[in-house]
């Protein structure tokens, strides 16, 4: 029951959550109808960034920061269960929301595919899986930040960092072209940051047609990609849980 209530709470913590879900579904529908993407990759990339990044930030805004800022956390952390469960079940709640959202996206696009002359949903399932993996990683990172930052600043900060970081990284790659620093930067972005590129390759089948092996999908690369994404999510989560368990909560009026 505890897990159920904590998970259920993520659906009702803010009034706009349902609006966010429905809005993105509508956006996907409009995008499909307007552009009728000839290749699954076009739609897939859009979903990857839309749901994997923006929806994750929207849903995880202030997920723990709200409780900490309002003082509600003081009652929650005096309950007789390991504080880390607060983090864990809320993250699971977000992950479940994403899973349902992406299932609905798949159904919606399947229906639209029947109605439109072209059809390009072959392999869409892999894109949805990649999106879910990315969502989990971004949500974990955002939730961990929410332990430190109050209110919805975790999402805002991440959004700014992603955008600014992307621009800065491109500039640095040009400046450091050929230098050893570029290699380190690439490695950091590839392996320590939410795996946008890896998951895009995984879903886009670049590990398949262009893999160094026979077959449509390189099994080892695909498994490695999924594993790395999950491990990264666990690392982000572990950091957040550690911070939450060690954090002190005070509403001192001194």
């Amino acid at each position: 029951m505890r897990a159920y209530e904590l998970i259920r709470e993520t659906y009702f913590r803010r009034s706009y959550i349902w609006i966010a879900h429905l809005s993105w579904l509508a956006v996907y529908g409009v995008f499909w109808w307007s552009f009728v993407p000839a290749k699954t990759e076009t739609m897939g990339k859009f979903i990857l960034i839309g749901s994997g990044l923006f929806l994750a930030l929207t849903l995880s805004a202030g997920i723990l920061g709200d409780d900490i800022a309002s003082g509600r956390i003081c009652v929650l952390v005096t309950k007789p269960f390991w504080t880390g469960k607060l983090y864990l079940f809320r993250w699971i709640g977000l992950s479940l929301q994403a899973a349902v959202h992406l299932l609905l996206t798949g159904v919606l696009l399947g229906v639209l595919d029947l109605l439109t002359p072209k059809n390009s949903i072959e392999g869409l399932g892999v894109w949805l899986l990649a999106t879910w993996l990315l969502f989990n990683a971004v949500a974990a990172l955002s939730t961990s930040l929410s332990v430190v930052l109050g209110r919805a600043f975790n999402s805002l900060l991440l959004l700014v960092v992603f955008v600014a970081g992307y621009l800065l990284m491109n500039a640095l790659m040009v400046l450091l072209r050929g230098e050893a620093g570029a290699g380190w930067l690439t490695a950091f972005v590839r392996y320590a940051w939410p795996p946008f590129e890896l998951l895009r390759k995984f879903a886009g089948g670049e590990y398949g047609p262009h893999a160094l092996t026979v077959g449509r999908f390189s099994l080892s690369h695909s498994v490695a990609c999924v594993v790395h994404s999950l491990v990264l999510t666990c690392v982000y989560g572990a950091v957040g849980i550690l911070l939450l368990c060690r954090r002190q909560f005070s509403r001192v009026r001194e």
Binding site: L76, P80, S250, E254
Partner: protein, 326 residues
């Protein structure tokens, strides 16, 4: 005995009648990267214990350290030095939290949840089964008289409703220790009476309650055991027990009040005097007959005798003055 000293705690070791034990608690608040001279010492070497069935009021001026002490007992913050145990378990541990019910000063609830849903949520967090949750929720609503607003969203609640709900949450599953921060905030007089009755029921059932409050008059209605704090330390109430029973004796005389007072009493006991009225400081009610006899023996013609006890606010203010002057 109001507050057990550490020595008395040691005598009863092994029996575990103590619900809360604090040993040498010190808490220093210091911002990261700030220098030591900017640190604030909120608690200094505080030791106390609260036994089973005791209702204790934490009083003190602003900045005395009441909230800090409450937060340390609740395990919300860690002491810089010293330790806190609840029923023998470290305060921040999961085991200790089983014995704890906490009510914050300004309770906040998710706006979309009704009172019933909030109670269900917190009952679930306690680890109760689905059937127990339903029973517990109904019992809480009955106990705190929340029937009228149980199914309204929390965003519509008044302060009093929020207090009731927060109290219900803290009392859920009858924990051995309740920590209440300003529980009577927003409660009407009927609510305060109900609260007092509730706390007494809890005490009779063996629960301990620590209440932090600024409303001394209302605190008086809830308990007679106090921990007075000033500048991060506990002021022992040993002598203050006597002091709380102290009072003023107003004696009306026909005439020559001043002469009679000078003749009968030491000047330190005479608070004020005029021709027809004397105000005499009384340590305890048993002194009244002796004072009257001494006045009569000194030739006073007494017309009236009225004893007024020092209330808790007067004690509080007196102790604040004494604390500041030390």
């Amino acid at each position: 005995m109001l507050v057990q000293t550490e020595q008395e705690t040691a005598c009863e070791a092994g029996v575990q009648p103590m619900v809360v034990e604090c040993h040498g608690l010190t808490k220093v608040f210091r911002r990261p990267f700030a220098s030591l001279d900017k640190a604030v010492c909120a608690l200094r070497d505080v030791s106390l214990s609260v036994r089973r069935g005791q209702i204790v009021g934490l009083i003190g001026p602003n900045g005395a350290g009441k909230s800090t002490l409450l937060n340390l007992i609740a395990g919300l913050i860690l002491p810089t030095q010293g330790r806190v145990t609840i029923c023998g378990r470290p305060a921040r541990s999961v085991a200790a939290r089983r014995y704890l019910g906490f009510m914050p000063e300004h309770p906040v609830f998710p706006g979309l949840y009704t009172a019933r849903a909030v109670l269900r949520y917190h009952a679930a967090l306690l680890g109760l089964s689905a059937q127990s949750i339903a029973r517990q929720v109904d019992a809480s609503i009955q106990r705190l008289h929340m029937q009228e607003f149980a199914d309204r969203p929390a965003s519509d609640f008044s302060q009093g409703m929020k207090q009731r709900l927060a109290l219900a949450i803290a009392m859920m599953s009858d924990p051995p220790l309740l920590l209440l921060d300003e529980p009577s905030n927003g409660l009407d007089p009927i609510g305060i009476v109900e609260l007092r009755d509730l706390l007494q029921q809890l005490r009779d059932a063996g629960a301990s309650v620590v209440i932090s409050s600024h409303r001394l008059g209302e605190l008086e209605k809830l308990t007679s055991d106090y921990i007075f704090m000033h500048r991060g330390r506990i002021v022992q109430f040993g002598d203050e027990l006597t002091a709380s029973q102290a009072g003023q004796l107003r004696v009306g005389v026909v005439s020559d009040g001043e002469a009679v007072a000078r003749a009968a009493l030491p000047s330190s006991r005479v608070l004020s005097v005029c021709d027809t009225e004397l105000m005499i400081a009384i340590g305890e009610p048993d002194e009244v007959p002796d004072v009257v006899r001494d006045l009569v023996a000194a030739g006073a013609k007494i017309t009236s005798v009225l004893l007024r006890r020092e209330n808790i606010e007067e004690v509080f203010l007196r102790l604040c003055d004494e604390g500041d002057s030390r």
